[in-house]
């Protein structure tokens, strides 16, 4: 694949200023996302995994300019969004949408389902006749598996899974080219999760949609993604095609993460090697020197404390990148 990417991100950094420790202390800087680079092709799904506080949701929002990034480039269809002011970004927004974890909280309780789904359409195409808006909304509700009779009902009348379908219809109504999905199935019951995952995959096939799929659930990410990015404390530790990453993860953190995810098979659960990590992720306010993972890594050596490992590849950036001083030595866990 050498086509021009839909989205190309270079050295993205998102920094938050926090109140100082005391009243007159200078504000402290927290880098929630640090030096993140990747490319996304049209129709591709990039999974982003990592534990809470790793910056995955911040990254998703910063990509869509819903949060200000501090440094780096966000090149959308060849055009850097970073220097653009919000009025210049707004017309581009119809091409990139987002869906959230809590489907009910993301919907205005005082609007009918029809109005919720129609809102982006009315905003971006104010000249559209109401009959056309209505027919497109009906059409989209059908595509996400809701019956058009639901048009005049309110969000509270729906279950979590149905609300997520409404959120997806709203995101899809403008036929965007990219949807950032932030934990879209995590708040749903197991029997409903599969329905939403299938729906996203079907919409991707039908519309050639690119997805950035943010989740802590490795099985869901594995199922949907073409490539997977693993974040730790705001930095990319590994990014690789899905099958490679899950078959033979290179970064010790990815290895531990995959080993920790319980699978629904008691035999496997009781025999698989434990690569238990000790402790919790360090605070992003006070990250360790060098490699952020070294405090929990059994392979850590002197160089890990001194130098920050950069993302390296085997000559092909899209094939596999890993940020670890020692990955060649620890290939097989």
């Amino acid at each position: 694949m050498t086509a021009d990417p839909l989205l190309s991100v270079r050295g993205l950094r998102v920094q938050f200023a926090l109140r100082g420790a005391t009243l007159f202390a200078p504000p402290r800087q927290l880098a929630a996302v640090d030096d993140v680079s990747f490319e996304l092709q049209a129709g591709e799904t990039l999974g982003i995994v990592g534990e809470s506080g790793c910056g995955k949701s911040t990254l998703g929002r910063a990509l869509l300019r819903l949060l200000p990034a501090t440094a780096g480039q966000i090149v959308w269809l060849g055009r850097d969004l970073m220097p653009l002011a919000e009025p210049a970004v707004r017309p581009l927004r119809r091409d990139f949408q987002i869906i959230f974890q809590d489907p009910l909280a993301a919907l205005d309780p005082r609007m009918t389902v029809g109005d919720i789904v129609a809102e982006p359409l009315v905003t971006f195409e104010p000249g559209l006749p109401p009959s056309e808006v209505r027919s497109r909304v009906r059409d989209m509700l059908g595509k996400v598996g809701l019956s058009p009779e639901m048009l005049n009902r309110y969000p509270h009348e729906f279950s979590g899974g149905q609300c997520q379908r409404i959120g997806i219809a709203r995101a899809m109504i403008l036929r965007p080219r990219l949807i950032v999905c932030d934990e879209p199935a995590s708040a749903l019951d197991v029997s409903i999760q599969a329905q939403i995952i299938n729906l996203l995959a079907a919409l991707q096939r039908e519309f050639g949609l690119a997805l950035i799929f943010i989740s802590h659930n490795l099985a869901v990410v594995r199922h949907l993604s073409h490539r997977v990015m693993v974040l730790y404390l705001g930095r990319v530790v590994e990014i690789a095609p899905r099958s490679r990453l899950f078959a033979a993860p290179r970064h010790p953190y990815t290895q531990a993460l995959l080993a920790a995810a319980p699978s629904p098979d008691p035999r496997r659960e009781r025999t698989k090697p434990r690569l238990s990590l000790s402790g919790d992720p360090p605070s992003p306010l006070d990250p360790p020197s060098g490699c952020a993972f070294r405090t929990r890594c059994r392979w850590a050596s002197e160089i890990c404390a001194q130098e920050h490992p950069t993302l390296r590849d085997d000559g092909d950036e899209r094939a596999w990148q890993v940020a670890c001083h020692h990955w060649e030595e620890i290939r097989s866990p």
């Binding site: 534990e51 197991v190 098979d265």
Partner: protein, 322 residues
Amino acid sequence: MDTVLAVDDLSVRFASPEGEVAAVDGVSLAIAAGETLGVVGESGSGKSQLFLAIMGLLAANGRAQGRVRYRGRDILGLEPGALNAIRGGRIAMVFQDPMTSLNPYLRVSRQLSEVLVVHEGLSESQARRQALEMLDRVRIPDARRRFDLYPHEFSGGMRQRVMIAMALLCRPDLLICDEPTTALDVTVQAQILDLLADIRRDFRTAIALVSHDFGVIARLADRVMVMYAGRAVELADSQAIFDTPRHPYTRALLTSLPRTEPSDTPELPTIPGYPPNLQRLPPGCAFAPRCRQAEESCRATVPLLIPLGPGRSAACLKVSAA
């Protein structure tokens, strides 16, 4: 069998403005010392209310009926004084969210030692010493330094360790864990599950593990009970549940799970529809409206749990016919 907890035909009903709701309907189970029973189900399946009822912790509009015996002694409907002598001591509970279960105004040391002072009548200094030992035991790093901190100064994983330490202080013989790792990251979840496995081995604690996550259940449970709409629909050894699920609901749930191991099905098998509203349960089998095998009879008769072999039962008309 050294039975710690035996529940017979337990039902939980809540009064609501729209009439009575049966959150739990005729559930029976038993847990032996050193054994872990996994209870799995989706939201509204009654899995949490079942154990809240067992502990006498139902909300004010809830009413439990049936029989609950702890070591042969009836504990359902016991007056609070008598119940408090057992719960928190002999039977302990760990909840999903450790932050809301800990008192934010009290140091961890105080909250832990208080349990020993109340239940075991220890002196303050004895209690502090034992509490600190237990924090070490649940592998809180640097426990001595952290002992006198407040709950907010702990991370989520460490707070859950504190909760588990608190639950273990009086060496309970039954530990009820309701979604103990749901709020935690996977690497921390793995640590907590390892810890529970160690506790079971070292103290022969009976564990009831309530979870919506089949992975967590597979990791720890010896036997599994699957619940749907307030009823137990299948009960079997853990391996059997995962290898050869018999109830159509269990089977459908397991096949709808995405897996981390290779399986390149582009489309996940799904369960149509949504979990039922307990206020408007259909007559007959509650799963029938979503079941691909349902027939006319399923919509008319509520299926009972039918034994299918040693330790194995399922509540489905189609299974009994097979």
